[in-house]
Amino acid sequence: MPAGDTCNFDDADFLGRLRAGDAAAFETMVRATTARLLATARRFLRDDGAARDAVQESFLQAFRALPGFEGSAALGTWLHSILVRNCLMKLRRDRAHPTEQILDGMLPSFARDGHRRNVGPAWRSAPEAAITDEERQLVHERIGRLPEDFRNVILLRDIEELDTRQVAALLEVSESVVKTRLHRAHQALRELLDPSLRKGSL
């Protein structure tokens, strides 16, 4: 799970108050986590209204489930997983006729003999420093262009940092499907980033 949900939620006293239904503790948790949860919901649902609904619904579920929350996961992680499940369920509901999605024009091309075609310039060199805000924005924008199946697998594996087994369970597919889809998604994302990251591009 991304770092940052680490406001000291996991001390026993705070959890005890939450489990007991303490409104002030619940409010503290809501105020501290809503922005991050909303950002996650927007990435999956790509619609602000739907994202807000998902966050609200997730807190309602969390509120009901809190008395039984055992603290085996960190509270922030637990909230996050409720939200992600809700987002995926909403996407599934909205897709009346699931068809196999394709990455048209987003995959590398090869000559008939298997050699790489259209080799463009190398990417400009990457500084060792952390990702810049500009790059972060670029990456999220490009991830947003991927077809939903491929976008979801990148969001779950790279952004939410779930492992292959967890993603397979959430998406109800096999682990090998997750791996193949992730590889395709990375290839497509590479293709989409290429014009912006080539040497000589801005």
């Binding site: 809503t34 807190f59 309602l60 790489r116 952004i159």
Partner: protein
């Protein structure tokens, strides 16, 4: 090993470290000889790194902004009511 096999079939496993020793040797030999694939692999690795870094929040760098007040209110209303 062709460029296509390297890029489509073996690259993800190579990066995972799950290629067999023999396959890994083939993979590296191809890379040593093929500039196109070296470029591809470098940009593929960088893509994964960027995607992972785009998720992790760096304190003080990511600007999530404030949670919308009306959303927070709505959430608190619902739970007060139940």
């Amino acid at each position: 090993m062709t460029c296509e096999a390297l890029i489509n079939r073996f690259l993800a496993d190579y990066i995972d470290g799950s290629l067999s020793t023999a396959r890994k040797a083939d993979f590296r030999l191809h890379l040593a000889l093929c500039r196109a694939c070296r470029r591809y692999v470098a940009s593929y690795r960088r893509t994964i790194r960027l995607a992972r870094e785009a998720g992790g929040s760096v304190p003080g760098v990511e600007s999530l902004g404030e949670a919308p007040a009306e959303l927070v209110e709505a959430i608190l209303q619902v739970t007060r009511g139940s």
